[in-house]
């Protein structure tokens, strides 16, 4: 099963529009090809074309050769020839472990389906999978689960009983079970927490290498590809911008675009060098001692029987950027919502400038604080134009909402005034997020809360917006509370870090200190994971250890 998979002339088009320019690739067994690009670059279409699962109206051309078995990629997705390819020759591992597993079947059974599919293909006898026949594969399923560091009990669990990382490992198990020639992993860890990503990817890479499969690893994150892919292809708008051996592309990128991608990659290593905002950071930390703008005292919030936030107290100094870090479910978003008053805390107090605020939204004013949400697609009212949205925000804060005021607001977030007439559907994700920052700035809030505000954006856009926030902090004296799971973002922006785990605040301190010398076990794990995924970390060493494949 160490066949070489070769792709020749793969291109994807919708009508006359070419979405992916012809691409050739050769992946030897046990090797891994990394495919890098931002959203819209055509990397996912390439993956789907290889298993004949393109959306309606989009067609592929070209050929793929699995160790002598050729298939024409232009065949329609219902063609019988694909039955031989999908599952047996090539498997697509999807991004979202929350929807890629069937919610009504036990995980063990779902993995057993793959084993049954493998046997069907080999013996060609109609081994139909009866209601209980998955038990036949119980031993194989258990062995595979053990290889993925999963407990045996997982076989008896339903997907909703598992964490995201566990679910994705179950999905990997069922992808591995058929022993395909080619495993295509489309952003396999993007939906997972930072502390989980590296571990799951390493497991995936280890199993794939051991079984001699070829792998295509698709990601927008250069840090995750580093040390895992042998060769890398950088795509942009359907074109291959650059390709080559991973370590050489990352250490000496030739294309300007690749250089920009590497520069934008939020790396916590930048802390080891001179922090560009060191001066500001130290002054604001000093200022924080004198005046704390926001004070949270013993805030607790439970949903049903589950305590999401437990007795959290923290302070944010005027002009400071405090990052609240934690994995999903750690209660960081709930804390932010309690501070804004969108959620009623069960206990505790929120003080702004030493004055207690009402628990809910009632009795609060827009100028006290504003929030920027994560999802750029639902953060703006889809039927309002940008001008309507911003004018309303200005009027709500006692101004006229005149066109000139709207234009000024747009300029502040780096958008052209000509965008004012557009609706959200006509804007890119980054532009929408800038508009929502403009809306939040309209009432001149003293505190800006960013709840994962850049995590849905591409790396380059992310970097731009983070730089913009840092600039706004200096020009407006803004205080920012930044909720994130991404330590790279933290090191780029924050003066201080508060780490949450299981609803409680486990560690607080200056960014440099918390990231370089974490005290709490959770923080250590997070920091180690981020370090191993970060681009510049131990470049030579990591590159060397994987060269001998």
């Amino acid at each position: 099963m160490t066949d070489t998979v070769s792709v020749s002339g793969l291109s994807v088009r919708a009508g006359d529009r070419v979405l992916v320019e012809p691409l050739d690739a050769r992946i030897e067994g046990a090797h891994c090809l990394g495919l890098i690009g931002e959203s819209g670059s055509g990397k996912s279409l390439t993956a789907r074309a290889l298993v004949g699962l393109l959306p309606p109206g989009i067609v592929a051309s070209g050929q793929v050769d699995f160790g002598g078995n050729r298939i024409d990629l232009s065949l329609p997705d219902r063609d019988a020839a694909w039955g031989e390819v999908r599952g047996r020759r090539a498997v697509l591992l999807l991004q979202d472990p929350f929807t890629s597993l069937s919610p009504v079947h036990r995980c063990g059974e779902q993995i057993a389906w793959s084993f049954a599919a493998r046997d069907r293909a080999v013996s060609d006898s109609s081994t139909r999978l009866g209601r209980r026949s998955h038990r036949r594969y119980a031993a194989e399923v258990a062995a595979l689960l053990a290889e993925l560091n999963l407990d045996e009990a997982v076989a008896q669990s339903f997907p909703h009983e598992l964490s995201g990382g566990q679910r994705q490992r179950v999905a990997i198990a069922s992808a591995m079970a058929t022993r395909p020639d080619l495993l295509i992993a489309d952003e396999p860890t993007t939906a997972l927490d930072a502390s989980n990503q590296g571990e799951v990817l390493d497991l995936l890479r280890g199993l794939q290498r051991q079984r001699g499969m070829a792998m295509i690893l698709i990601s927008h994150d250069l840090g995750l590809i580093r040390g895992r892919a042998d060769e890398v292809v950088v795509m942009r708008a359907g074109h291959v911008i650059e390709r080559g051996e991973t370590s050489s592309v990352l250490s000496s990128p030739r294309a300007e675009y690749t250089q920009a991608l590497i520069a934008a990659n939020p790396s916590i290593e930048s802390l080891g060098h001179v922090h560009p905002d060191d001066a500001i950071a130290s002054t604001s930390t000093a200022a924080h001692k004198a005046t704390s703008l926001l004070e949270v005292r013993g805030v607790t919030k439970a949903f049903g029987g589950h305590t999401a936030v437990e007795a959290v107290s923290l302070e944010v100094g005027a002009g400071e950027i405090l990052a609240v870090v934690g994995e999903s479910g750690s209660g960081k978003s709930t804390l932010a919502r309690c501070i804004t008053g969108l959620e009623m805390p069960d206990a505790g107090e929120i003080l702004l400038n030493g004055v207690p605020l009402p628990a809910g939204r009632r009795g609060r004013t827009p100028g006290q604080m504003q929030i920027v949400f994560q999802d750029p697609y639902s953060t703006l009212n889809p039927i309002f134009s940008v001008r309507q949205t911003l004018a309303e925000a200005l009027r709500a804060s006692g101004r006229h909402g005149a066109d000139s005021e709207v234009d000024e607001l747009l300029a502040r977030v780096g958008l052209d005034a000509s965008l004012a007439a557009r609706r959200p559907s006509q804007l890119s994700g980054g532009q929408r997020q800038r508009v929502s920052i403009a809306r939040a700035l309209a009432p001149d809030p003293r505190l800006l809360i960013c709840d994962e505000s850049v995590s849905a954006l591409d790396v380059l856009v992310q970097a731009d917006i983070l730089d913009m926030l840092a600039a706004l902090r200096s020009s407006l004296g803004l205080t920012i509370l930044f909720i994130t799971h991404d330590l790279g973002v933290v090191s780029r922006l924050a003066d201080r870090v508060a780490v949450m785990s299981g609803g409680a605040l486990v560690e607080t301190g200056p960014t440099v200190q918390v990231l370089n010398a974490p005290k709490h076990p959770y923080t250590m794990r997070l920091s180690a994971a981020a370090r191993s995924n970060s681009l510049l970390a131990n470049q030579g060493e990591a590159g060397g250890s994987h060269d001998g494949v």
Binding site: G15, D16, H239, L342, T365, T379, E392, A393, S397, R423
Partner: protein
């Protein structure tokens, strides 16, 4: 060596083809256009449909001067049917629009405010939904007399629970979205958030449901007319025509068939157009 991607012409035509209405939709629009003409010009077209010179008994279809024959009072079926369009269609439109307005008001309040408001509105709709429409109509007619507008008013109330529920569920789906929370962060008033921000985003759902309600109300109102509740005897009305035509069913089948076909055709036309518009609304904003 990159070439600019040309704007695709073929893609454009495919879009148009997908959006272009089918034969049924075009037929439905023709039916609705005829209805509009009949309502607008019935005074000119058939000024004395109900008061024509009364002959003796009914004439079969195809009689001289009466294409579809006459009813038992000697009134021309074709003229009567045209004159009956107004009462057949205007009432249902009023019912659908009226129940929609009630639905938007109470549905938005229940779905956005939740809590006790939601409970009260929810129980009120439960009670209304439990009432059998026909029975209530007969009872109301017995108490208030059987006027056309009394019946219409009653149907507005009886139709509103489904509107309330649909608007409520739509509002509940929108309420937790970040754009609504952003509006709350701006301390906008609750009516403004409900009716300026949320309701317009639920509008496709509301309008589609309203169009479907017109067809349902048309059938309900005609049934009530048939039972003698609603329009006064002697008034031109399709449901009434069917009821009156029973006695001459064999002498002139057209007396029943024509108004019945009209009811079915208009109800179907409104449903088809409603579906088509609903699909278009749903695709709005999807580029």
């Amino acid at each position: 060596m990159t070439t600019l991607v040309q704007p695709s012409r073929r893609r454009g035509t495919r879009r148009r083809r997908r959006d272009s209405p089918g034969v049924l939709v075009i037929l439905s629009f023709i039916v609705l256009a005829l209805v509009a003409v009949a309502i607008a010009f019935s005074g000119v077209l058939v000024p004395n449909a109900t008061t024509q010179d009364i002959l003796s008994g009914s004439l079969p279809a195809g009689s001289a001067g009466h294409l579809l024959g006459t009813d038992e009072l000697g009134r021309d079926i074709l003229q009567l049917t045209i004159a009956g369009t107004a009462s057949a269609v205007v009432g249902p439109v009023v019912i659908a629009v009226g129940s929609m307005l009630i639905g938007v008001l109470f549905g938005a309040l229940a779905g956005f405010l939740r809590g006790s408001t939601d409970w009260v509105v929810g129980r009120a709709t439960d009670v209304l939904l439990a009432l059998p429409v026909m029975l209530v109509a007969l009872v109301v007619a017995g108490i208030l007399g059987s006027g056309y507008w009394v019946t219409v008013g009653m149907l507005v109330v009886l139709f509103s629970p489904s509107d309330v529920r649909i608007v409520r569920s739509g509002v509940m789906e929108q309420a937790p979205r970040p754009y609504v929370e952003a509006a709350q962060m701006l301390s906008l008033s609750r009516p403004r958030i409900m009716f300026r921000h949320i309701v317009p985003n639920v509008l496709p759902l509301i309008l589609t449901n309203m169009l479907l309600n017109i067809a349902f109300a048309l059938v309900t109102l005609s049934s009530l007319s048939y039972l003698g509740v609603g329009v006064q005897a002697g008034t031109a009305d399709w449901g009434r025509q069917i009821a009156d035509g029973r006695s001459i069913m064999f002498a002139n089948p057209a007396a029943i068939i024509v108004p019945a076909v009209c009811i079915i055709a208009v109800a179907c036309a409104i449903n088809i157009v409603g579906d088509w518009l609903g699909d278009r609304f749903q695709n709005r904003g999807v580029e």
